[in-house]
Amino acid sequence: MATEHGAHPGNCEEVFALLSEYLEAALPAGTCQEIEAHLADCPPCIEFLNSLKRTIELCHGCESEERPRPLSGEAREGLLAAYRQALAARREGGGKRGQ
């Protein structure tokens, strides 16, 4: 099964391996054209592609509805103290280390 960029997807298995990258337009133009040539003649692959596309769309913005407990005053103070210290270090020396 070909999975590399520049592969020549000619059958369902080869196309199947490349569908995510195809949907993200992350493949070379030639590979895209070969996938499209296959899809034009393969309704099952189109159906599968559409269901994969819908899966991705559904996941976008599907953050959990779980929320952390409210931040305690003590925890906030700890974070604020660390932030102020780092800010002071940044102002003094432009940062201790590189990123």
Binding site: P44, T55, H60, R67, A75, A82, A86, G98
Partner: protein, 203 residues
């Protein structure tokens, strides 16, 4: 809380770096929830996720002078959160390391060169957006939660949090090709769970 996109996050980091007083609480509000949701899915335990959120933010602020490029704040924060999650590893959730094979998601082909018969649900019958917020959302979260750890992390970062491939690779300490391979397999696994859900709704 209004959602904040990548540009908004970078802007928030820029304001924080400039020492704008109101940026601190906003930054905490935005990232604390994101880190909590990511780590809850990764660790599987609310208490662990609460601790990871606090530990990550503390580390973020302690090392804030290291952040030079506000555009990289997302990848930087998630990388710290990911390491904090790894410290909470519980065998029941993280082990054993499991690889998903592409072949296991390939629909069965017809015999003797017969046309491939694809038995998939009718995706045009997907519930509308309102229902999505309930039942379907649960199915997606459960499907992602059941993925092996290395796939779950990629799926959460790329498709839920919508980090780029490069950012995801940076968070996970791997390369973009590995991210792409794992993402495709994770998507196939989640797609299969959604397909099974749609079939069960029909029956």
């Amino acid at each position: 809380m209004a959602p904040v996109d990548a540009t908004g996050e970078a802007d928030l980091a820029r304001r924080l770096m400039a020492g704008e007083p109101e940026a601190f609480d906003r930054f905490v509000e935005v990232f604390r929830t994101k880190i909590f949701q990511y780590s809850f899915q990764m660790c599987g335990h609310r208490e662990d996720a609460e601790e990871v959120s606090q530990e990550t933010l503390l580390k973020v602020f302690e090392n804030f002078d290291q952040l030079r490029e506000p555009e990289r704040v997302r990848a930087w924060v998630y990388r710290i959160a990911r390491n904090a999650c790894l410290m909470k590893r519980r065998k029941s959730v993280f082990a054993p390391a499991q690889e998903l094979s592409l072949d296991e998601f390939l629909p069965p082909s017809g015999q003797d060169g017969a046309p491939r018969r694809l038995e998939i649900a009718d995706w045009s019958a997907l519930p509308d957006e309102e229902v999505l917020r309930g039942e379907l959302r649960q199915v997606i979260h459960q499907a992602i939660g059941e993925l092996p750890e290395i796939y779950r992390a990629v799926m959460l970062l790329r498709d839920v949090e919508e980090l780029s491939t490069a950012e995801t690779a940076e968070v996970l300490g791997t390369n973009e090709e590995v991210v792409k391979t794992r993402l495709h397999r994770a998507r196939l696994a989640v797609r299969r769970k959604l397909d099974a859900y749609l079939r069960s709704r029909k029956n």
